[in-house]
């Protein structure tokens, strides 16, 4: 989570790798659950189970972030990560608001809401890089 791989600590590198894995898992799980819902016409209990499975990558990445924040010795970097996560939430909510509006008032269907977690990860990552640039 530092500005380049050379300056990353082992806990930062591990956390970033896990977050990257969670991003891939999110895409796989959301795509899989969407395909199942569209083609399989699952019953209500199966639909709920699939929806719960979609939660797993999000829970996983929150756990990764929590573990990272608990392990990070540098309080300043910890503060930057928390601020970056707030920006990540902001980007996700803004994306949802736009998608919600477009879906409600136009025939266009955007599946972006299914990739909320990825939007959050990407928003957090970009925000962290930008925040870090201010303290070079």
């Amino acid at each position: 989570m530092s500005h380049c791989n050379k300056t990353m600590t082992s806990i930062q590198r591990r956390s970033l790798q896990k977050a990257g894995g969670a991003m891939g898992l999110t895409v796989a799980v959301t795509t899989g659950s969407r395909m199942l819902a569209e083609r399989g016409h699952p019953s209500a209990p199966v639909a709920i189970a699939v929806a719960l499975i979609s939660l797993l990558p999000i829970v996983y990445v929150i756990a990764v972030a929590a573990k990272y924040l608990a392990s990070e010795q540098d309080e300043f970097i910890r503060m930057l990560v928390v601020r970056a996560m707030l920006w990540g939430f902001a980007v996700t909510m803004a994306g949802d608001a736009i998608v919600g509006f477009v879906s409600e008032f136009s025939p266009m269907h955007l599946p972006l809401s299914l990739l909320n977690a990825d939007l959050f990860f990407a928003g957090t990552g970009i925000a962290f890089r930008l925040l870090q640039r201010r303290y070079r």
Partner: protein, 64 residues
């Protein structure tokens, strides 16, 4: 809160990176403290006290 970190570091001919290594933090942390954009918590403040071997009031001072 203002501080004399940059002066104290310069007196010892340490770079920001060197001071960061001695404190066990990132170089960005040192930069943020020096420029007054981040006030360290007690654990880091105590590290600074030990490293420079001087009381806190001689490193940090209130703007008032």
């Amino acid at each position: 809160m203002k501080n004399r970190l940059r002066v104290l570091r310069a007196e010892r001919n340490w770079s920001q990176a060197e001071l960061a290594t001695r404190l066990g933090v990132s170089r960005q942390s040192v930069n943020a403290i020096e420029t007054g954009r981040f006030d360290p918590g007690l654990p880091l403040a105590f590290k600074l006290i030990r490293l420079f071997d001087m009381p806190l009031e001689q490193i940090f001072f209130d703007e008032q």
